[in-house]
């Protein structure tokens, strides 16, 4: 062990102390990270906290790690042992408007990723945002959320965010010093009109930022604006150009499509408009009459593939063949395909073509952004041929400003850097040193810039190589604006003043251009206002102030969505060559953004790290996903470390076997293996960018997989550890009818199929007499009586398995709302994750192409709760509205309730998981929810704090609580509205109506638990030409 040798070399404790003493104050967190990385410090830690002790604390070794970190913090703090300044607590002299202590306020804003936002309502408690909800008015939210947006509030409070301006040598500096220096360098370039000045951004949709970049480029005409993000739309853009001769962006009206074919596209979970598409998709699966049909061809199992009525796995290189074959079936002239389809595939595509043709104008073909340009072109042609344009597809000008080919743009920058032509480089919020194509050697070239500055939330890999690093404000800390996928603008308002010394990109530009007199927040405000003042077209008949206030308040600027443009298929697509198919025996490598940490930007977000990935259910790591068949051939099992060799580069990665993955293909997800993400993200997973070249950003061929003989611990929450033998769990799940599925034909024949699968005991079978009282409407049908409810409410939940995609946003929303701690990889691996919602993923059928079902499992709030009778101290009790409550303060932690819960939804604080890791994280907690201590059981409460809030509001207003007054966090976040919560005693409530659906069923009801959470059975709409035999249950 290297540490061993360093220990023998010995380091001077005094030297370490000196090092610690030299760094103090606001550099607290950063210095810690740096120190922890030095071998000396590690050796010191080793000696102070000998290795033996953490080893002994086996299951708690992560905690020991945290303790060590804590101890090292204490050490770091010793030198700064000055008395804290005295604080006075005084009441507001003038209370801020609308602020009532204890009452949260909601502000509309938007959180973006690579330029594209999800509109949110941010919940603010006494001036601190704690929770984000979707903004129903925002076209890319419609009230729903995605996991990234939901978790972004944690990033706001992340103690590892960069906090001060630093120079490359690690010295703390100031904005003034930086601006002085930067303006000096820029002024020197004015004479050459800005030659050698380069800006690197991600995709920019912000009108204000675009305006400033424009102004900057006007001031420095020779300056170059580069854009790069690793997950980009280069191929889609090229495809549009190929098809139409110009760059247009397609928009889908999924709700209008009866038949949808997703060709290598995960459109339900990726892309700027995916929340709307998912909502529209689910809206067409609500009733028998409206059922759409989804066909999917993909390589890696995706959320979209899991929702498909028909899915075919195909290696990435054959996706174009499918496009070609289908185009031919649709009588589109195309070039020779790269290769033929197999017999069953051809049959499948012919049936699909027939189905599409039958539904001309009411169907939709979509493809993924990472597919080759020619596939995009073919898909455009197909939609045209099927008459979908104007119905289910429309086109607009690109939403983003200055759209360029990202790959080329970065390549140009790398070339200039290499040639030493870059005299001023400003990197805004992107991290090319980490995620640039490996063959560009960007990290080696970056230091060649004469003056370089990085603005970002974290002092990341790129910041380390730039001369200056500037802390960026979080989107909840600054003014800004951003455009949705359809062009609708949102004005972003700050919820809190910057926690650290950060500024936003627009504020930075303003400073460089010498625009505002005042720096910081107010400058941002002025700039954004100025941008929108200029849009006089939007202010017809109203004054600017009204316009501004409305726009900020609503979270959307009315009338900003883009108008569709007419497009014409320009080129003869027969001229466009199809991609060559590589050697059939070669194994291909697929690069995909990670489902939870995307391209790596969310690596330091603990909620996202610990969120089980929708299909693999892995946490804290990525893995090389392979098909079961390939794993069998290569003798691989889950967690086996393999060496991937691709184009001479080698990378070690653990294997994860994904049922339904295309054979001869290995998928690696991006975003892991970071070295400067922060304490949460560092050292998790492997860095797939090390294999990703500019030529093959999403798909390469000829990867070698070699076993190393080692294994790696992968922490999955899906505990059927061995997917190769899923029979036992699968059989058990089927016997127990946890998932109930029928095709629509079967459903027509027998609408009550789901309820007939299990015997539900009538209450008369109980030995105990029920408490007399108000009779629940639904349960009366089964002859049940409920405990008397003083208020008359009876809360219940319904989860529609037909709509649930398994995306996991409900899990993050629940975590944010209910102060659920993260526990770390080791504890997850040990089965101690705390998330109140588990999304169970079940497969059915063929290992090589199974059907996938997701089932969110949370507290069922049984009317006959087995947990309640066994608690010795009455810490879990029913209230008169049917909620099974946890009285945390009363819990002594015998865990009997956890054992006796048949649904296994109870989570135990085995350690003090909620112990605050940093002061800023304390502020994140929802003040309405108890932070649970060690040794206490916890579980879903139906968001009782929200119920109570609604109840007190209802008491004040005198009206009963209606559906619109109350949403649980999971329900609110769900993009497909799969979760419905409400009063089952009110026949008008949505949940009552849902529960009256014949598909409604409870799980394990034969135990006479009478769960309040029930499910709606899944329906499939297979094409009879493809599928004849029926499939029931898992």
């Amino acid at each position: 062990m290297s540490i061993q040798s360093q220990m023998t070399n010995g380091i001077d404790l005094a030297a370490v102390r000196e090092r610690l003493a030299g760094q103090r104050g606001p550099r607290y967190w950063r210095s810690l990270e740096e120190l922890a990385e030095t071998p000396e410090f590690q050796a010191f830690l080793e000696r102070e906290f000998p290795n033996g002790a953490p080893e002994v604390l086996d299951p708690g070794s992560r905690r020991t790690f945290l303790k060590l970190m804590g101890a090292s913090l204490a050490l770091a703090g010793v030198s700064g042992c000055t008395s804290q300044p005295g604080e006075k607590i005084v009441p507001y002299v003038r209370a801020p408007e609308q602020l009532i202590p204890g009452k949260p306020l909601f502000y509309a804003t938007a959180i973006s990723k690579s330029g594209f936002p999800v509109g949110v309502l941010a919940e603010s408690h006494m001036g601190r945002p704690t929770m984000l909800e979707g903004n129903e008015r925002h076209p890319d939210s419609l009230g729903g959320m995605d996991t990234f947006t939901q978790a972004s509030v944690l990033t706001l409070y992340d103690p590892d965010r960069s906090q001060v301006v630093t120079r490359r040598n690690g010295k703390i500096s100031t904005w003034d010093l930086f601006l002085h220096e930067a303006v000096r360098v820029l002024n020197a370039r004015r004479s050459s009109k800005g030659q050698g000045v380069h800006i690197l951004t991600e995709t920019v949709t912000s009108p204000s930022l675009a305006r400033q970049i424009k102004a900057f480029l006007e001031a420095f005409p020779e300056a170059v604006w580069h854009q790069y993000q690793p997950v980009n739309r280069d191929q889609a853009r090229a495809g549009a150009k190929l098809a139409f001769g110009r760059d247009v962006t397609p928009h889908y009206q999924v709700a209008k499509a009866d038949v949808i074919f997703a060709l290598g596209s995960d459109f339900l979970a990726q892309g700027p408009g995916h929340l709307r598409w998912a909502r529209d998709f689910a809206s067409r699966r609500e009733t028998l009459e409206s059922m759409n049909r989804l066909y999917v061809v993909d390589t890696t199992p995706t959320i979209t593939g899991g929702m498909a009525d028909h899915r075919l796995p195909a290696v990435g290189h054959r996706v174009a063949d499918f496009a070609n074959f289908l185009a031919r079936e649709l009588e589109i002239k195309v070039a020779e395909p790269g290769g033929p389809l197999l017999e069953h595939e051809a049959h499948w595509v012919r049936a699909l073509a027939k189905d599409l043709k039958k539904n001309q104008g009411k169907c939709l073909v979509v493809t993924g952004d990472d597919q080759p340009a020619v596939v995009h072109a073919l898909v455009h042609a197909m939609n045209q041929a099927l008459g979908n344009v104007g119905n289910t597809v429309s086109y607009t000008e690109p939403v983003e400003h200055g759209a360029v080919d990202h790959q080329e743009s970065l390549r140009a920058l790398a070339g200039d850097l290499d040639a030493g032509k870059v005299e001023f480089l400003m990197v805004l919020g992107t991290n090319p040193a980490y995620h640039a194509p490996v063959d560009l050697n960007f990290a080696q070239k970056l230091p060649k810039a004469q003056f370089s500055v990085h603005l970002g939330l974290y002092e990341d890999e790129t910041a380390a190589l730039c001369q200056w690093h500037l802390p960026e404000t979080h989107e909840l800390e600054a003014w800004g604006d951003v455009l949705a996928s359809d062009g609708t603008a949102t004005i972003q308002q700050p919820l809190i003043s910057p926690l650290y010394d950060g500024r936003s990109a627009i504020e930075l530009f303003a400073s460089l251009l010498g625009e505002p007199s005042r720096p910081g927040l107010e400058a941002g405000y002025e700039i954004v206002r100025e941008t929108w003042k200029a849009r006089s077209d939007l202010q017809v008949g109203i004054d600017f102030e009204t316009f501004w206030r409305t726009a900020v308040h609503e979270g959307v600027v009315e009338g900003t969505s883009l108008k569709p443009v007419e497009v014409k298929l320009a080129a003869d697509l027969a001229q466009a060559p199809m991609p060559k198919r590589p050697n059939d025996d070669a194994i291909e490598i697929v690069f995909r953004p990670d489902p939870t940490i995307w391209d790596g930007r969310y690596a330091n977000n603990g909620w996202l790290q610990e969120l089980p990935k929708p299909l693999t259910k892995l946490t804290w790591d990525n893995a090389a996903q392979v098909a079961p068949a390939l794993a069998e051939r290569l003798g691989l099992n889950n967690g086996d470390v393999v060496e991937l060799e691709y184009e001479g580069r080698k990378l070690e990665a653990p294997i994860w076997i994904s049922p339904g993955h295309a054979d001869r293909s290995v998928t690696v997800t991006l975003g892991y293996g970071r070295t400067r993400a922060g304490r949460v993200g560092n050292g998790t997973g492997f860095n797939a960018y090390l294999l990703r070249t500019a030529a093959a950003p999403s798909l390469g061929s000829g990867v070698e997989i070699r076993k190393t003989g080692r294994t790696y611990l992968l922490a999955g929450t899906d505990l059927h550890r061995n997917v190769m033998a899923p029979n036992e769990t699968g059989e058990a799940a089927a016997e127990r009818h946890l998932i109930r599925v029928a095709t629509i034909d079967e459903y027509r024949k027998d609408p009550k199929f789901a309820q007939e699968m299990e015997h539900v005991p009538s209450p008369h079978e109980s030995l105990y007499t029920e408490i007399e009282g108000s009779v629940d409407r639904i349960d009366r049908e089964h002859g049940a009586t409920l405990p008397a409810s003083g208020s008359g409410y009876a809360w219940g939940m319904s989860i529609n398995l037909n709509a649930c995609m398994g995306c996991g946003v409900c899990v993050v929303a629940c975590q944010a709302e209910n102060n659920i701690p993260i526990v770390g990889k080791e504890q997850v691996a040990y089965g101690r994750e705390m998330q109140w919602l588990d999304i169970d993923r079940y497969y059915q059928g063929d290992l090589d192409n199974p059907e996938t079902y997701h089932q969110p499992r949370t507290c069922m709030h049984c009317e006959n709760a087995p947990c309640e009778v066994v608690c010795p101290v009455a810490a879990t009790v029913h209230d008169d509205e049917g909620i099974n409550n946890m009285v945390y303060n009363r819990c002594v932690g015998t865990r009997y309730c956890g054992n006796n819960c048949p649904y296994k939804v109870r989570h135990f604080n085995f350690f003090h998981y909620s112990k605050p890791k940093a002061p800023s994280l304390v502020v994140l907690n929802n003040p309405d929810v108890t932070v649970r201590a060690r040794g206490v059981m916890e579980k879903c409460t139906y968001c009782i704090q929200r119920v109570n809030e609604a109840r007190s509001a209802a008491q004040i207003s005198g009206n009963p609580i209606r559906d619109s007054d109350l949403k649980t966090a999971c329900q609110s976040a769900c993009p497909t509205r799969a979760i419905v919560f409400g009063d089952v005693n009110n026949p008008e409530s949505q949940v009552s109506k849902t529960k009256a659906d014949p598909r409604n069923y409870g799980i394990l009801t034969d135990l006479n638990t009478r769960p309040r959470t029930t499910y709606l059975a899944r329906l499939r709409n297979p094409n009879p030409e493809i599928e004849t035999e029926s499939t029931h249950g898992v």
């Binding site: 002994v56 604390l57 086996d58 299951p59 708690g60 905690r63 899906d718 505990l719 059927h720 036992e728 769990t729 699968g730 058990a732 799940a733 016997e735 127990r736 946890l738 504890q827 040990y830 089965g831 101690r832 588990d838 169970d840 993923r841 079940y842 499992r857 087995p866 009778v869 066994v870 608690c871 010795p872 101290v873 009455a874 009363r890 819990c891 002594v892 932690g893 015998t894 865990r895 009997y896 956890g898 054992n899 006796n900 048949p902 649904y903 296994k904 109870r906 989570h907 135990f908 085995f910 350690f911 003090h912 201590a933 060690r934 040794g935 206490v936 059981m937 799980i1003 394990l1004 135990l1007």
Partner: protein
């Protein structure tokens, strides 16, 4: 019999007291162990090991109090592990002590006399070890008193429907009654020790503990009454304690727990493991301290017979579980049984059957019942088997219950083992101390036995105590008092 199996040392295998003993010899021999014999090397080595393990236990308890029960191997869905397994195991072991002292006393089984004292001590120490587990397995052990019905400002009482509350009462009653019973039985002997002790402090301490016992007829009368009353109180506890413990499981919904056969089968299992533990302790004890005269082959054989009977009851319990699973047509029960036998824990189940059901069958043969080394080995096998039984019930049932997506396996962690071995250390440390400070065999009762033996045989010191004893018959009522 004796002539068929000539064993010089065990020549009087059927006697419950070797011939030739007088009041004085009995008193001398037993009190010498504690009062006059020097510390033997083996005692010191044994005690040091046990004490070291006890320190390990204290370390574990400290670690768990500081860090949390997460140090144990428990996780979802197996939220009980070694803690409850060991609790039930230790409580079960204790049962033999109560059975021997109380039930056999009421049935006037004289052969109990020489083993009851240390069997009772074993009960107490086992209950002490057992009691640690429910306490330490709690997430917040400092609130253990919330399980007691004490008056408080919130007017909040325990939740009476929970078997854990019943457990608190069952176990605390059991510990109290066992302690009282043991102590009352000790009083005449403490007086003997007071009188024979040379050390001033020892004299003083024994004196206080003897509560002024002078051996008057009134004392004896009161003593007898109290002792019999306590025996009467203790007797139902033999059945009730483990019944309540079994309800911890039987009252749950978990397949593999939710079974009506649990109470009788748990009680039988408790006695089974308890007698096995008595054998494990008695066999070395009689050899080390030369007590073969007092703990004779007769005792060992009688205990072997009890092992056989309880072993068969336990086997019947296992058979019933399997039968119910099949007969109920219940998916969960059937899966549970299949999972036990063929699932990831199949080896524990197989080993359990081997230890508890198969091994004990050799006791059908008298030759096996009187073969001391075999009995010793068998007693350890049964102890292991009974531990496995609890492991199978607790862990295997929880690991795979209703929702397959939540299934997970369980393994004891490092701290689980330190706690387990630590309690074994505590048990033996207490036992070692007990041997050196208190009479391991009831002197008073042995003297009574001497008297009775003499009366019966008219002073014939060479006569057999029970010439009418049948050879191979399985009668528990072995002597005709």
């Amino acid at each position: 019999m004796a002539s068929e199996h000539p064993e010089p040392q065990e020549a009087n295998g059927h006697a419950i007291l070797a011939p030739g003993h007088t009041y004085a010899s009995v008193t001398d021999k037993i009190s010498a162990i504690a009062l006059t014999s020097p510390y033997r090397r083996s005692w010191i080595v044994g005690f040091v090991i046990a004490f070291a393990l006890t320190m390990m236990l204290l370390t574990t308890i400290t670690a768990v109090l500081v860090e949390g029960v997460g140090l144990f191997g428990i996780r979802r869905p197996v939220m009980w592990g070694f803690d409850i397994v060991n609790f039930v195991w230790w409580i079960g072991i204790g049962h033999a002590g109560t059975l021997i002292s109380a039930v056999l006393l009421l049935f006037k089984q004289e052969w109990r006399t020489s083993i009851n004292r240390f069997a009772e001590a074993m009960t107490l120490f086992a209950v002490a070890c057992a009691g640690l587990y429910p306490l330490m397995h709690m997430g917040r052990p400092w609130y253990f008193y919330w399980l007691l019905p004490y008056p408080n400002t919130m007017s909040l009482w325990p939740q009476w429907r929970s078997p854990l509350v019943w457990d608190v009462f069952a176990v605390s009653t059991y510990a109290t009654v066992s302690l009282l019973f043991w102590y009352v039985g000790l009083i005449p002997d403490l007086a003997t020790f007071r009188d024979r002790a040379k050390n001033r402090y020892a004299k003083w301490i024994y004196g206080i503990l003897a509560m002024g016992w002078r051996g008057s007829a009134i004392h004896w009368h009161r003593y007898r009454t109290a002792y019999m009353l306590l025996a009467g109180i203790a007797t139902p506890l033999v059945v009730s304690v483990h019944t309540v413990v079994s309800l911890d499981f039987a009252a749950g919904v978990v397949p593999g727990w939710h079974t009506t056969v649990f109470p009788p089968y748990f009680v039988a299992g408790a006695i089974y493991s308890g007698f096995a533990m008595v054998l494990t302790l008695a066999i070395p004890l009689r050899v080390y301290y030369g007590l073969q005269d007092f703990i004779t082959l007769k005792h060992l054989e009688n205990m072997a017979k009890i092992l056989l009977v309880t072993g068969l009851i336990v086997t019947y319990g296992y058979a019933l579980e399997a039968f119910f699973a099949w007969y109920s047509s219940n998916t969960y029960e059937q899966f549970m049984m299949k999972n036990r036998a063929t699932g990831p824990y199949w080896h524990t189940y197989a080993l359990l059957i081997l230890c508890n059901c198969t091994a004990v069958q050799v006791l059908w043969f008298k030759r096996a019942r009187t073969c001391v080394p075999l009995l010793f080995v068998l007693s350890i096998i049964i102890n292991i088997g009974m531990w496995l039984e609890r492991y199978v019930i607790v862990v295997t049932s929880l690991a795979r219950d209703f929702v397959p997506a939540a299934w997970n396996l369980y393994h004891g962690s490092f701290w689980d083992y330190t706690m387990y071995y630590g309690t074994i250390g505590l048990f033996f440390a207490l036992l070692f101390i007990f041997i050196r400070v208190l009479p391991v065999i009831s002197i008073a009762e042995m003297r009574e036995l001497v008297a009775e033996t003499r009366e019966r045989h008219g002073g014939d010191e060479h006569g057999h105590a029970h010439p009418d004893e049948d050879d191979d018959e399985l009668d528990l009522v072995a002597s005709s008092g």
